[in-house]
């Protein structure tokens, strides 16, 4: 299988696995997870983030932060797959006897920070990047930010700071699905031109189709080649990507499907492959 096809199959697997995991107890955020599926798969399976299978505490690992913490559970199938905890935990998601919670925290192997509250991941990652640089470790931090998360002022506090510090080992990926709970970002509080905002804060910025592994991998290839700037990848995505009735619909943020919709979603996820 070509690398590209492998990534497509893994995204397909990730969406279906996350969906079934969330449906076991009907807790979680499916559309927010689906908008960033290709981002996470590219990071972990596209040769971008460096990690040691089975060793979540390797001090030289790259750090991956799901700063949009409501979708951190999208990482669980991947973290299990790379041997950070047993795959059986996925079936115990949010159950009293289970390890995995709806909002992730560092008690779960592979979760680097508690990010249920928005606007923390970038600053914590910046601290790790500074420590790593000072210690001579080649550690990068990849921070998946929600576009709605970019309303938080703390994101921009760190954006300024990271540029000043020249943290070229820091990568922000903005999951630009254009929706928050009450509607379209551009109808609520405008975020565009979001790429220009990051650029004006001193970041190297690239804007890509966030469902295209090819485009994402091209963007990730710029890590460390930014002339001392932190890198921001604005990934244009679709919230709920892969489930027809959820795509681009803000009301599905944390709603759970009816039995009929559940079957429809399963059919969609079985047949849909995101192949851009």
């Amino acid at each position: 299988m070509s690398k590209h096809n492998d990534l497509i199959e893994r995204s397909h697997w990730l969406r279906r696995t996350v969906f079934e995991m969330v449906m076991t107890t009907k807790r979680g955020h499916v559309p927010s997870s689906f908008s960033c599926a290709e981002i996470l798969v590219s990071l972990f399976y596209g040769g971008v983030a460096r990690y040691t299978r089975g060793d979540p505490t390797d001090p030289n690992r790259d750090r991956v932060y799901m700063s949009k913490g409501h979708a951190a559970h999208a990482l669980y199938p991947i973290l299990a797959d790379i041997g950070y905890f047993p795959t059986e935990e996925l079936a115990r998601y949010t159950k009293p006897e289970g390890l995995l919670r709806m909002y992730a925290d560092p008690s779960i192997p592979g979760i680097e920070a508690i990010c249920g509250s928005l606007g923390h991941g970038l600053g914590i990652a910046a601290g790790v990047c500074m420590a790593s640089r000072n210690d001579g470790r080649d550690v990068r931090s990849f921070v998946v930010l929600g576009d709605g998360e970019c309303y938080e002022g703390s994101v921009w506090e760190t954006a300024m700071f990271a540029a000043q510090q020249g943290l070229d080992n820091l990568v922000a990926i903005v999951d630009r699905n254009a929706l928050c709970i009450l509607g379209r970002t551009e109808d609520l509080v405008r975020l565009e031109p979001i790429d220009e905002k990051w650029r004006s804060f001193g970041w190297e910025v690239v804007r890509v189709d966030g469902h295209s592994h090819t485009a994402l991998l091209d963007a990730f290839a710029r890590v460390g080649k930014t002339g001392g700037k932190p890198l921001c990848i604005v990934a244009d995505t679709v919230k709920g990507k892969g489930v027809s009735f959820m795509e681009g619909r803000s009301e599905w943020h944390n709603r759970m499907p009816s039995p009929e919709q559940l079957e429809q979603a399963r059919r969609d996820l079985e047949t849909n492959r995101i192949t851009n």
Binding site: E112, I114, S154
Partner: protein, 318 residues
Amino acid sequence: MANPLMRDVLIEELCSIARRDPDVYFIAADLGAAALDSFREELPRQFIHSGISEQNMIDVAAGLATCGKKVYCYAMSSFITARCYEQIKVALGAMNQPVTLISVGVGMGYDDAGPTHYTTEDIAIMRALPGIEVLSPADAESTLAIARHTHAKPAFRYLRLERPALPPVYQGDFAAALPAGFARVAPGSKVAIVSSGYMLHRSLEARALLAAQGVEPAVFDLFRVKPLDPAALVAALAPYDAVVTVEEQWLAGGFGSVVLEAFSDVGSTKRVVRIGLPDRWFFENGGRKPVLDAFGLGVADIARAVGELHSSPGREGA
């Protein structure tokens, strides 16, 4: 020799520690100190200016701490507490990161500045966080010993520094008191005053005033309100008929509440009178001392409260 500023004592010691320990990091959110200039110059790799961005400061500190760094965050009291409370709660508290928050100018330390710069609630809000250690030194000796303690035992910690230089309370005996979290700093009988920081000095002044009238309350410095062994505090206060707590805080959940909780937790019904700030905002000019005098925290107010308890019949506690 003039009394040194607490912040200079602390930072000088931290600088000396940081020269030996490259894992010590100091983050400032644009607050200076004479001692900080040499730290910045000598140890630029270990000094970080976060910008006037306290949220960023705390999150960056958390990230550094996850890599094993011993991090100190430094800002004015108001801005290192309520301003970034959620970052403290989540990134330091819930993630259990050993970061020391150095809070300068507690209470009404920034004279005339008003509610934006006064921290008259910081004890209540900071001690509410699980696992935090809350310390309030009252002089240079206690500040120095606490500086060493923060490095020897890295922890999630809130360190309350007074802005003005204060005269000595301890004479080489603070280090021995540190493990308990409180110390009797003046002997007495019948009534015990419990206070800390700036108000400890006012309490000692009140004791001096009362001595002329033949009344001698003991004075206790409760410099660590959390963690606290309630049984130990209650035992230390057992010889006295009544207790007066003195704080430059609103009473809701503050310093006096700590003492009341200790008595309640061990089932004691000892008489405890709390003296603190009235439940209002303070916009008055004139500086810290006149404002405290005008709102019930004058030396005479403390002396009066003690005197009343002294002359009233004692009530045995548990």
